[in-house]
């Protein structure tokens, strides 16, 4: 490997491309790139490889089973707990016991209620939600347009989200230039279009929604089913109240700062059908930029046309289609 020849630049370039470089490291890299053509060449090697890997991964060139990674890690010898960890173990055990106790006293009706809401999300009923930014990014904190915000978080306010079951969705956003951007999936293919431009279509049903429907709790604020399953699994349900009429409210607080996702989730749902009427996600992860808190508000349950989630329903017949790998 040529690590020794390019070591400082490799380190800075890769830390920057993987999103873990701090300000000083990014500035150091910028200085290196301004200084020499060799540095720029090496940086372009890294950036080019990064881009190729992103595309190849989406095209399925890489291994298709991440479980191999985890099995190997599980098979590897366990790391010896350090002193700090040993000190933390009793505290962690006490915390776990407290959590278990909380789960034990958590009214089973809260759990049952959540199951009903998750079940309703999975039904093939059509739902139209509006997204409202409840609390924008603080004014002193610049938005982070440089990291993982797809779609741009600052255009989420007043966006519309249509859902049919767990797999079909369309997110429609109005952009500042007056154009509309739509990202959707009919459950078989996903697609993305902006204004009157070509439509990108991928055989991967999650391709264009992946960053929105991010797993692992990083930015999963629009994937209602995952969000609700996380609420059941990773949040402490603190309140379950009967609201007005048949509407119930439920408030869950995140158990650990390490698990990602919004710090607090508040739901309003129909007690009989489990239909989610409103959900507020408070203190969203800041590393992805965008608003601090958003609300998803039910607008309608009117049935949509059967082909509504296919891209053809959202553009004129002759529109250029660009297939993705």
């Amino acid at each position: 490997m040529t690590e020794s020849a390019h070591s400082p630049l490799d380190e800075l370039a890769l830390r920057t491309l993987h999103g873990i470089a701090d300000e000083a490291e990014r500035e150091a890299l910028a200085r290196l790139l301004a200084r020499s053509v060799e540095s720029r060449g090496r940086f372009l090697d890294h950036a080019g490889l990064h881009a190729m890997l992103a595309r190849e991964a989406k095209a399925g060139t890489l291994a298709d089973d991440t479980s191999a990674f985890f099995h190997r890690l599980e098979d590897s010898p366990a790391r010896k707990p350090g002193r700090l960890l040993r000190l933390w173990l009793p505290a962690a055990a006490a915390f776990a016991a407290a959590c278990l106790l909380a789960v034990a006293v958590l009214p089973t009706r809260a759990s049952a209620a959540l199951d009903r809401v998750i079940g309703a999300i999975s039904e093939t009923r059509d739902r139209t939600y509006r997204i409202e930014v409840v609390e924008p990014a603080p004014p002193h904190e610049p938005s982070r347009p440089d990291r993982g915000r797809f779609p741009p978080a600052n255009h989420l306010d007043d966006a519309t989200l249509w859902l049919r079951g767990p797999r079909e969705f369309i997110l429609s956003q109005s952009l500042p230039n007056g154009e509309t951007r739509r990202i959707g999936s009919d459950g078989n293919v996903s697609w993305s279009m902006r204004g009157t431009g070509p439509v990108r279509v991928s055989p991967d049903a999650e391709r264009f929604g992946r960053a929105i429907f991010a797993r692992n709790g990083e930015v999963a604020f629009l994937d209602l089913r995952t969000q609700l399953e996380d609420l059941k699994r990773l949040y402490q349900v603190e309140r379950l109240d009967r609201g007005s009429g048949d509407t119930w409210t439920l408030v869950g607080k995140r158990r650990s700062n390490d698990q990602g996702g919004p710090r607090e989730i508040e739901l309003w749902f129909h007690s009989g059908t489990g239909l989610l009427e409103r959900m507020i996600l408070r203190h969203l992860p800041r590393e992805n930029g965008g608003p601090r808190s958003i609300a998803i508000v039910l607008q309608s349950t009117e049935p949509l046309p059967s082909d509504f989630f296919s891209h053809q329903s959202h553009h004129e017949p002759g529109r250029t289609i660009l297939p993705e790998p």
């Binding site: 080019g48 191999a68 990108r200």
Partner: protein, 176 residues
């Protein structure tokens, strides 16, 4: 000479699909964020399609697209309050010119990469898949695999350097 294909839509689609990897790589070289590059690719398709009537088909489609891509990337950089990489305009211009020169060989590099990926271990491919297909941040991979962020980053770094070396060796082989 302007583009005079009988079915311009089909011609555009074919050429854009073939040119996409190179154009995406070029955008990535200037914006340093895969989501931003992906987003700009959508804008690029729209702009190129609007101007396709003016495309001279004796010219390389990729080279033609790079002109638009360069402008889009510069516009994007100007709009950002905070950039992934705070470069001055002169350095960005140099990077853009150097990245454009490399686009000519993009397909060769991509073929070499595909070959090199087959030589990675299952574990290396799995970690790449999590990072690039699942789009998991390093922090998330670390959390899920019960490793430190640094350990995961080191693994990714090792894979990157291995792949870069492998690509260089493959391209340098006289049999190609």
């Amino acid at each position: 000479m302007r583009n005079s294909t009988p079915d311009p839509q089909l011609a555009f689609t074919r050429q854009f699909v073939a040119a996409q990897p190179a154009l995406h790589g070029f955008l990535m070289s200037l914006v340093h964020d895969t989501h931003a590059a992906d987003d700009l690719l959508q804008d690029l398709a729209e702009r190129m399609w609007r101007k396709f009537g003016e495309y001279d088909d004796r010219r390389s489609f990729v080279a033609w697209g790079i002109g638009f891509a360069r402008l889009l990337a510069m516009e994007w950089r100007r709009r950002q309050q905070r950039l992934p990489l705070p470069l001055d305009e002169e350095t960005v211009d140099l990077l853009a010119s150097e990245a454009a020169d490399r686009c000519v060989h993009h397909d060769d590099r991509l073929d070499a990469l595909r070959d090199c990926i087959t030589r990675l271990t299952d574990r290396q491919r799995a970690v790449l898949r999590m990072r690039y297909q699942e789009e998991c941040p390093v922090k998330t991979i670390a959390r899920q695999s019960n490793r430190t962020q640094m350990a995961v980053y080191k693994m990714l770094k090792h894979i990157h350097l291995t792949l870069l070396d492998c690509i260089s060796e493959t391209l340098a082989r006289p049999s190609r």
